[in-house]
Amino acid sequence: MDGTNIQTAADLLFAAGRDGAPIAPVRGLLPEGDVAAAYSVQALNTERALAAGRRLVGRKIGLTSLAVQRQLGVDQPDYGMLFADMARGDGEDIAAREVLQPKVEAEIAFILGRDLADAELTVADLFLAVEYAVPAVEIVCSRIANWDIRITDTIADNASSGLYVLGSRPARLTGFDPLLCGMVMERAGEPVSVGAGAACLGSPLNAALWLAKTMARLGRPLRAGDTILSGALGPMVAARPGDVFDVRIEGLGAVRAAFAKE
């Protein structure tokens, strides 16, 4: 693995985000399909963000749909870092300059009340650690022009993360059905994406557990207070200026992502 190339890919992605100017895919700089190399790229930019004083507040999980995994030729999800400056309020205007080629996904977010530091975790640990669940909209963005991504591009690019919006009314895990909960995302009253909890790796808890174990194993465990964006419950939808997306997750609640008009 060539360290120079990893640094180059990280620099290119960082500059693309800073300048709001999408770049050509970075996969050519990395061995084909080398997920570990791609995470090394991501890690360089995570260190850069932390050194600049950005606050790490959680993780996002991507590629939680089997159909999307097949498209990208992988058999597991991926993760990216969430920083405090990526959070937006429920229904708050999001300006076009804050996002790059934005698409929206409806998800369930989990807010942890305790650390998940043990590498030998079970779903029972998750039950005890999740303080709240809340509907969320993830606004995925790509620093790669035209979303021309393969697996190493998206992982290197912080799992194509952008911004996220949490609902205003956190709920307990016991109050809804994480597997069969229906999800509808409407734009101007028209359903543009529908799905259910099971679309996220069979259950959003499966995805969250995969993340918690992976993070503990890598020595950067999830901590009390962290937000987990567990993965899309339905297909993603491209967002345009002026779009308002309303997400309802049956039994859990609602959240709105609003894009400012041009």
Partner: protein, 257 residues
């Protein structure tokens, strides 16, 4: 043209009865209108009444934006259900009795009071006696499942069989229920009842309007299948099919050869 319509109706009825695909009607009748198509549907189903089948209700079709766009229309369609189309929940379905059957999860309403014409959602819901999880078996009688709008309407909106699960109270909120269609315990389609026109009750309102326009109405005891909530799954012998719907329960059957 009515003699011509009767001949087309007979052709579709025979295709359904013998599970043999037929050519699209518009190949030989390119000017076929939607009105002609509903007339063919009525004539075709009349042949079933003559064979002793009885009325079970109606089904709504093209209830998702995606399907409307596919066919290039902005209105839902409807078809008729007969008692012979009703299958035993938990039982089996004979694959060979159909041309190329597919299963799709649905929400079923059972009607308690007559309903027809322009009605509000509240009026429609007051006519509902109960709701249930359901699966519809759609089976186009046209080769390769390819058809135009008049073709599919004439073909009873592809309806061919249905399964109904346990009825629950009519006030159960069905606006946005998660739905998982499983084959042998593996999820193959995942969606929400919100895919049905944004809310299944809109399909009920549309049924009242369209049936009223056709001089029909929903009557007590009628079942209304409100429309597909996910893409359909093509059935293969040996498969165990199960649709689970949030807060309503599940419906299942096994596919026989």
């Amino acid at each position: 043209m009515s003699a011509g319509l009767a001949a087309l109706a007979a052709r579709l009825d025979e295709a359904a009865r013998t599970a043999t695909a037929t050519a699209q009607l518009i190949e030989t009748h390119p000017d076929l209108t939607t009105e002609d198509a509903y007339a063919i549907q009525r004539l075709s189903i009349q042949r079933r009444w003559q064979r002793g089948e009885t009325r079970a209700g109606f089904k709504m079709g093209l209830t998702s934006r995606a399907k409307m766009q596919q066919v290039g229309v902005s209105e839902v369609t409807w078809g008729r259900l007969t008692n012979a189309m009703r299958q035993q929940e938990g039982g089996s379905l004979r694959r060979s009795a159909f041309v190329h059957p597919r299963a799709e999860p649905e929400i079923a309403y059972i009607i308690g009071k007559p309903l027809a014409g322009e009605v509000s959602a509240v009026e429609a819901m007051r006519a509902v006696e109960a709701v249930a999880p359901a699966m519809e078996i759609i089976d186009s009688r046209y080769a390769n499942f390819k058809f135009s709008l008049p073709d599919v309407i004439a073909d009873n909106s592809s309806s061919s069989a249905f399964f109904i699960g346990s009825w629950v109270r009519p006030e159960t909120d069905v606006a946005n229920l998660g739905i998982v269609l499983e084959v042998d315990g593996r999820a193959v389609e995942i969606g929400s009842s919100a895919a049905i026109l944004g809310h299944p009750v809109r399909a009920l309102v549309a049924a009242a309007r369209l049936l009223g326009r056709a001089g029909e109405s929903l009557m007590p005891g009628d079942i209304l299948l409100a429309g597909a909530a996910t893409a359909a799954h093509a059935l293969r012998p040996g498969e165990h099919i199960r649709a689970a719907i949030q807060n309503l329960g599940a419906v299942s059957f096994t596919v026989e050869a």
